[in-house]
């Protein structure tokens, strides 16, 4: 096959896109590293401990030390494991966690791919994250890992429905699937943010987001005290670290999406201050703090309680509120829901 037929412009586009992807992924990975540091510090303070303080000033180099340690460790593949799928598990966990970031806007111009069905794309890509967990659990050929995978599959499929319905409310209010349009629909100050008209959906989305990322108090897939470490019990070294990276990248993603859809993204809360990425970072950081706060506060849910909350509480709430929003839009008070 001769290369002369290939468009030179297409090659340039691909290379330029790869450069942009690197510019997105590297800060994201740094963010993940320092989120683990923040988590240990914040939970440490909440439990009247100090947290990491040995490596570097105030322990600031701790995440780097952890990463180096994990890279040096051997990746052990259990004798009875399904070799190919065992390696594929972590890859399938991290790939969707990173791919979803392609459509996340940081300001109205700073976005890798501004596609018009951005919200749908995010939902579709994040729904694939569960494969990493299921495949890892099955390929490990371990009862604990398999139990973790089964729990995770049921949990993620259940909460995805509530999450999807919460997003339906957002797209009804914004009348667009484009994430930039959704943020711009909230322009005009704090009182215009969708958190107010869609408050029940905001709460459902946030809690379902915690469940989707398998974070405490919904971490039955890991459940250290019940099933050792769940789906990643057989993983070591970098293969384990990749699961870790995926979980934290997903956490930041959910926080970013909550910011974009309910908290006005990069928009400033008051008129006299300029909009900018600073607001995006501050709001996302706040939502991430909520994630850490939940973990330090709540005991783990029992499995049947998780299922009940997802199916019997969240889904009815979201359906009722979608009908309320749709109905109110037909009344003279519809402007309150835009």
């Amino acid at each position: 096959m001769e290369s002369a037929g290939m468009d030179w412009a297409a090659v340039q586009t691909v290379v330029w896109t790869l450069v942009k992807i690197m510019a997105l992924v590297v800060p994201l990975m740094l963010g993940v590293a320092y989120l683990t540091y923040a988590e240990r510090k914040v939970i440490g303070w909440m439990q009247v401990r100090i947290g990491p303080n040995r490596v570097g000033f105030q322990g600031l180099l701790q995440p780097i030390a952890d990463a180096v340690k994990l890279m040096m460790k051997e990746i052990i593949i259990p004798a009875g494991a399904n070799r190919g799928l065992f390696i594929l598990g972590p890859i399938l966990a991290i790939a969707p966690a990173l791919a979803a970031w392609a459509v996340i806007p940081f300001t109205d111009t700073l976005v890798l791919a501004n596609i018009n069905a951005g919200l749908l794309y995010v939902m579709a890509i994040t729904s694939m994250g569960v494969y990493g967990v299921i495949i890892a659990g099955w390929a490990s050929n371990s009862k604990y890992a398999f139990l973790g995978a089964m729990r995770s599959a049921a949990q993620i499929v259940s909460y995805e429905i509530a999450m999807g319905f919460a997003l339906v409310g957002v797209l009804m209010a914004a009348q667009s699937l484009n994430l930039i349009d959704i943020v711009q629909g909230q322009a005009g100050g704090l009182h215009q943010w969708y958190i107010w008209p869609l408050f029940p959906l905001f709460v459902v989305y946030l809690i379902a987001g915690v469940a989707e990322t398998n974070r405490a108090p919904f971490d039955v897939a890991e459940g250290e005290s019940e099933i050792v470490a769940g789906f990643h019990v057989e993983y070591s070294g970098m293969a384990f670290a990749v699961f870790f990276l995926a979980e934290y990248a997903n956490m930041i993603l959910i926080a970013a999406l909550t910011t974009l859809m309910f908290l006005g993204g990069w928009l400033s809360p008051v008129g006299f201050l300029p909009d900018g990425i600073v607001w995006w970072l501050a709001k996302t950081g706040f939502v991430l703090f909520l994630f850490l706060w939940f973990r330090a506060t709540f005991p783990r849910y029992r499995y049947d309680q998780i299922m009940r909350l997802g199916w019997k509480v969240f889904i009815p709430i979201t359906i009722v509120w979608i009908v309320v929003v749709g109905g109110m839009m037909q009344t003279p008070y519809g402007y309150l829901f835009h």
Binding site: G5, L120, A124, Y131, I134, W138, A154, I156, V157, L177
Partner: protein, 212 residues
């Protein structure tokens, strides 16, 4: 060969390979995972057709939900493939006949006579702000609203029927109503017994554990 054509052949090759592996893989879990790959690649091809809503829905519904439950079941079952493959050659002639019939039917319809470029020209590419999702939604809720609602009701009936058929109340279930659970007071669970302090004679001091 343009960039789009190259992508098409790349996706098509993966799709055909994955489709073949679904029926040739010995391990049912592998077969299910190849089906996931096939769905995902098909979604990529639909994206090339500018049908982004259908492509994303295919990933969202089939890859994200249906196949997860499918894998769930396949992983739990202990499927003996050798038993399933018994009598393969007995059924081979009938299966061959049916597949030849299917190929002929598809060739009759999908041949270049009806779908060639001279009959159906390639559609003009839409501008960047064209929303496939919006167009689809508009059609479903205006021109095809009755068909759409009918399909929805039929699905609802199927859901209710499936639940009604499998619903059974187990007698040994330990289910507790959470509304009852949260009403629990301390006195229902805990009884504090006051005991006077009793001094016990200690005959010998047992070795205390000392931390080094």
């Amino acid at each position: 060969m343009s960039y789009t054509t190259a992508i098409f052949y790349f996706f098509a090759a993966i799709l055909v390979f994955a489709g073949l592996r679904v029926i040739t893989a010995r391990n049912p879990v592998h077969a299910a995972l190849f089906l996931v790959l096939a769905f995902f690649t098909a979604a990529g091809l639909w994206m090339l057709l500018e049908a982004e809503f259908l492509a994303i829905t295919l990933v969202l519904v089939y890859v994200g939900a249906v196949m997860v439950l499918f894998l769930f079941v396949v992983m739990m079952l202990d499927i003996n493939l050798d038993k399933l493959r018994e009598g393969f050659w007995n059924y081979a002639p009938l299966a061959g006949f049916v597949s030849v019939l299917l190929v002929i039917e598809m060739a009759l319809i999908l041949g270049s006579r009806h779908f060639g470029l001279d009959v159906m020209a390639a559609p003009a590419p839409h501008p960047a702000d064209y929303s496939n999702t919006k167009e689809l939604g508009r059609l479903i809720y205006t021109d095809y609203v009755y068909a759409f609602e009918l399909a929805a009701v039929i699905l609802l009936v199927a859901i209710v029927a499936a639940i009604a058929l499998t619903l059974r109340r187990r007698k040994d279930s330990k289910y507790i109503d959470p509304a009852e659970q949260v009403k629990v007071k301390r006195n229902d669970r805990l009884r504090i017994v006051k005991m006077g302090a009793v001094k016990r004679e200690v005959s010998g001091v047992r070795g205390e554990e000392k931390n080094p």
